[in-house]
């Protein structure tokens, strides 16, 4: 019995080299502080490449925004003070994602299964934000509260729109 002629190419073990180069690049940041801007940008480009290869649509926007948050955190780390990123950058980017999602769910007639996992991750993320606020790591309380309030409002609206599927998705996601 015959098999087809395969047009395959051997896999190239790029990952190991990329990892080594990244470790070296991060190490260089400790010696040359301004290099962190280059390192952060390179890392963001790498993430963007991988994200755009794997995801599209809202998932891609989400992943790129999270990569952007990471880059901002890195830039902020140059002064060993992350307060600007934690207090303003992360909440505002998060607010952007939540609002975008809210609009999509309200306007587009997609199945809830399209968004459920990202949405549940948002819940986890907002819990982390709330904890950071309680322990005092997030100092811009008003900004944080507005973000969480917008998220809570979107939760209620989406719940009303999606109905029981929302509860079922949540149950599946958190099953132990």
């Amino acid at each position: 019995m015959e098999y087809p002629k395969y047009m395959d190419k051997p896999r190239k073990p790029y990952f190991k080299w990329v990892l080594i180069l990244n470790i070296l690049s991060v190490s260089l940041c400790f010696l040359v502080p301004w290099y962190i801007y280059i390192q952060g940008s390179l890392l963001f480009l790498q993430f963007s490449y991988l994200i755009l290869k794997k995801f599209k649509g809202y998932k891609a926007v989400c992943a790129i925004t999270f990569a952007l948050m990471l880059m901002m955190l890195q830039f902020d780390a140059i002064n060993l003070d992350l307060s600007w990123s934690i207090d303003y950058v992360i909440p505002s980017l998060f607010m952007f994602l939540v609002t975008l999602k809210f609009i999509i769910v309200m306007v587009k007639k997609h199945k809830w299964a399209h968004y459920d996992q990202i949405h549940i991750l948002f819940i986890a993320f907002s819990i982390v934000m709330a904890i950071l606020m309680i322990v005092g790591l997030i100092e811009a309380i008003i900004m944080g509260s507005i973000t969480l309030a917008i998220f809570a409002a979107s939760l209620v609206a989406i719940w009303i729109r999606v109905g029981r599927k929302y509860y079922r998705s949540l149950l599946k996601f958190i099953h132990v």
């Binding site: 019995m1 087809p4 395959d8 199945k111 996992q117 599946k172 958190i174 099953h175």
Partner: protein, 413 residues
């Protein structure tokens, strides 16, 4: 029949490890295939898939990442039949498979079902393939279904039988750090596969002369071939056992456990047969197997583990696989036994094939399938070197004195 619709499933106990480590390098896939007597008609095959899939809810799922565990979620999309372009047992890309954890491919007269192991084991995949072949054939003429299972919609069809039959007592399976097969990794998506086709009745007669079963005979020949190439032992051949034959389960999800057949040094063929047979009869014990799989079920039920985030658990599971599971096995040999189909189906089906993926350090593995007196032994390899395979085929002819027909997917390698 219970028609209550299930929309999602927890992964069964054995399936939990696969999503943690599966990658292009280590795809955790296997293939069951049927070679027909006539070229495959794509349109009929697609409609057979469309007819079969709704009757097997445990197959019509996709893999999703939960906060604590992965789970199988209902996949409303259509499973698309494709012409074979990739090597067998390649990593199943969910984008290419429309989210399904299996892929139906065809080439000339072969219909192949490639499965990710988290979905089901060889038995489940064969049941699905048999129903698919039946639905393919009935489009060409009336065929009685006989004992063929055309539905998997009962609650028992998607139960986690490990959990159901696990007991309180548990026992460690023996852990022996063994020698592995070495070679030049091909870094290919999928495997090279070498098949040997022979007369099953004649092989059975030969096994009877030796006073053993076919699986024991083939394991012994394979053990001898491995030891001749690797040199000194210990080596272990992992032989999966279908637990449905021991426990009254009819689940279509994973329900098998491996017997690790060890051997420390090469010996005469008669002595090897006796050694392998003794290992089989010692390890193939209901209570013993129950205690061994109960241990895994018990681990899974620990609250600390259950409440550990999925990502953290995956790191531990990946580590456990590379540091422990793979260290105790040299190669895998699986024989799901004789495949039964309605008599009229012999007009359409020539023979079946079964093969496993091969990745570091399990670079060579064996799958055996028997249908209508045709046995096909498939050796998969993920390395350049073919010495073990060539030696096994040579030994197979030497110890059985049977005529063997060979073919492979090597092409002009």
């Amino acid at each position: 029949m219970n028609t209550k619709k299930r929309t999602w499933f927890r992964l069964d106990n054995a399936a939990k490890i696969y999503p943690a480590f599966a990658s292009k390098k280590d795809p955790a896939t296997f293939r069951v295939a049927a070679v027909l007597k006539h070229p495959v008609n794509k349109t009929l095959l697609q409609s057979a898939v469309d007819m079969t899939l709704p009757n097997f809810p445990s197959m019509a799922v996709t893999l999703k990442r939960g906060l604590f565990w992965y789970y199988l979620d209902e996949n409303p999309r259509k499973a698309i039949v494709k012409k074979e372009t990739k090597r067998p047992c390649a990593y199943i890309n969910l984008k290419e498979s429309n989210g399904f954890l299996f892929q139906v491919v065809y080439y000339k007269t072969r219909i192949a079902l490639e499965c990710f192991h988290a979905l089901t084991d060889g038995y489940g995949a064969l049941e699905f393939l048999k129903a698919l072949l039946y639905n393919y054939a009935i489009q060409m003429g009336e065929i009685p279904a006989d004992s063929l299972r055309l539905h998997g919609t009962d609650e028992g069809d998607f139960e986690d039988s490990y959990k159901k039959y696990a007991g309180e007592d548990h026992q460690d399976s023996p852990k022996l750090h063994v020698k592995h097969i070495h070679g030049t990794d091909l870094h290919l998506d999928g495997i090279f596969v070498h098949h040997a086709k022979l007369d099953a009745m004649a092989l059975n007669k030969c096994a009877k002369i030796y006073g053993v079963t076919i699986t024991v005979l083939l394991t012994s020949i394979y053990m001898k071939s491995l030891l001749e190439v690797i040199g000194k032992g210990p080596i272990t051949i992992a032989v999966p056992v279908n637990l449905r034959k021991i426990f009254p389960s009819k689940t279509l999800r994973n329900f098998s456990y491996v017997l690790n057949i060890p051997c420390w040094k090469d010996k005469s063929f008669r002595a090897m047969l006796e050694h392998v047979m003794n290992e089989f009869s010692y390890q193939l014990d209901e209570e013993r197997l129950k205690k061994q799989f109960s241990k895994n079920v018990n681990y899974e039920s620990k609250w600390l583990l259950r409440l550990t985030p999925n990502e953290v658990k995956s790191i531990f599971l990946r580590n456990a696989r590379s540091k422990k599971s793979k260290k105790v096995v040299t190669s895998v040999l699986t024989n799901p036994g004789i495949i039964h189909m309605p008599e009229e189906m012999t007009r359409y089906i020539d023979y079946f094939e079964m093969m496993l993926y091969a990745s570091k350090p399990l670079y060579v593995n064996m799958g055996i399938c028997t249908y209508n007196n045709e046995m096909v032994i498939s050796l998969s390899r993920g390395i350049k070197e073919k010495d073990i395979i060539e030696l096994f085929f040579k030994n197979l002819e030497k110890y059985t004195q049977l005529d063997v027909e060979y073919y492979s997917n090597e092409g002009d390698e």
